[in-house]
């Protein structure tokens, strides 16, 4: 098994296994230092970010909202974790010169052309639908896919199967090239 891939990255098996170690260390560290076992996750942070932004314009509306109250609008462990992902990716990509400004990814360009507007619309509306789904399911590929599967949670198996199963069907339809 090669430790480096053709594009200069690490073997996904190696990088993934290290994430497994990180997940275990992180649960241990949060339990010891915060008194509560925190598992890796990302999507609740988007609720808190939405609440923090909305608060600047409609503070009463956020205070009165049942869901914001339930999830607690504050900069917590997971919020900083998600911000950390940005810096970690930046450091890693600068260290091996794989940082690249990209406005339209190749697969998208092949199907929908070089328009940044189309790509932005796809990312934006896809993002809305995906986040409504992730909050309803109470997790994303981090919370269900990684943390839930590690714990052998029933909901994680079902959620991951649906994430991917639906994704395969929609991707096949969405990126199918018109027969010319």
């Amino acid at each position: 098994m090669k430790l480096k891939t053709k594009d200069g990255g690490w073997s996904p098996y190696l990088a993934g296994a290290l994430v497994g170690v990180l997940a275990v260390v992180s649960v241990y560290a949060t339990t010891q230092l915060m008194g509560k076992s925190n598992f890796l996750g990302a999507s609740t942070t988007f609720v808190r970010a939405a609440g923090l932004l909305e608060q600047t314009v409609f503070p009463e509306r956020v205070a009165a909202n049942e869901y914001f109250t339930k999830e607690k609008v504050r900069v917590d462990w997971q919020f900083m974790f998600v911000i950390g992902i940005f810096f970690g990716a930046l450091i890693a990509s600068l260290s091996d010169k794989s940082f690249k400004l990209e406005s339209v990814p190749p697969t998208w360009r092949e199907r929908f052309g070089p328009s940044i507007g189309k790509r932005a619309a796809g990312a934006f509306f896809g993002g809305i639908v995906a986040m409504v789904g992730a909050r309803m399911a109470d997790g994303c590929p981090s919370g269900h896919g990684l943390s839930g599967m590690m714990q052998l949670s029933l909901s994680a198996f079902v959620a991951l199967a649906l994430f991917f199963g639906t994704g395969v069907v929609v991707a096949a339809l969405f990126y199918r090239r018109k027969s010319s």
Partner: protein, 176 residues
């Protein structure tokens, strides 16, 4: 910053670093998996699960940490999971990887991040409606596979490892 915030930030930096080195932050890798052409994200994810699963169950068995299952709410997981899959395919990122993708310069992911913040606000508005409809169908509670099957997790883990190793071998043979 509090200890909680510093800990979160450091863990996130390490996670983002590994996501980037594993090359799983790319739109091409995420959509590539959904088009069944490139299984990099599954090699990465399943490797993390194999290692993490053993460590988590050792710590939980020794009562050093406590497990935190997410509820198996039927409507929530089925409808929410399907909605997520639809959005994921078009967006080409999941919530965690979208932020990392911006970090490695794929700046179109900022539109995905913005969409997800709007989606979260929308969900907060619709929550009372969902709570009385989809979320109210049937809740099996916060349960794990061990309870469902009525066996020790240490019986499930070796089987899980064996299945995943077979999947890895198949990926490599098919050059996925």
């Amino acid at each position: 910053m509090s200890i909680e915030q510093i800990l979160g930030l450091l863990t996130g930096i390490a996670f983002g670093f590994l996501l980037q080195k594993g090359r799983v932050l790319r739109f091409e890798k995420q959509v590539g998996a959904m088009l069944l052409k490139d299984m990099t994200i599954f090699k990465f994810m399943l490797s993390a699960i194999l290692v993490g699963m053993v460590g988590i169950h050792i710590l939980a068995g020794a009562e050093i940490i406590s497990l935190s299952h997410k509820a198996m709410n039927l409507g929530a997981v089925l409808v929410g999971g399907a909605l997520f899959g639809c959005g994921w395919a078009v967006m080409g990122y999941c919530p965690g990887t979208s932020i990392g993708a911006v970090g490695e310069g794929r700046w179109h992911a900022v539109f995905a991040v913005a969409g997800m913040v709007v989606g979260a606000a929308l969900y907060a508005e619709l929550y009372p409606f969902f709570k009385s409809t989809i979320l109210a169908w049937k809740d099996f509670g916060k349960i794990g596979m061990a309870e469902v099957l009525g066996v020790s997790p240490w019986l499930i883990i070796p089987v899980f490892w064996a299945v995943v190793i077979c999947i890895f071998v198949w990926f490599e043979r098919r050059k996925l």
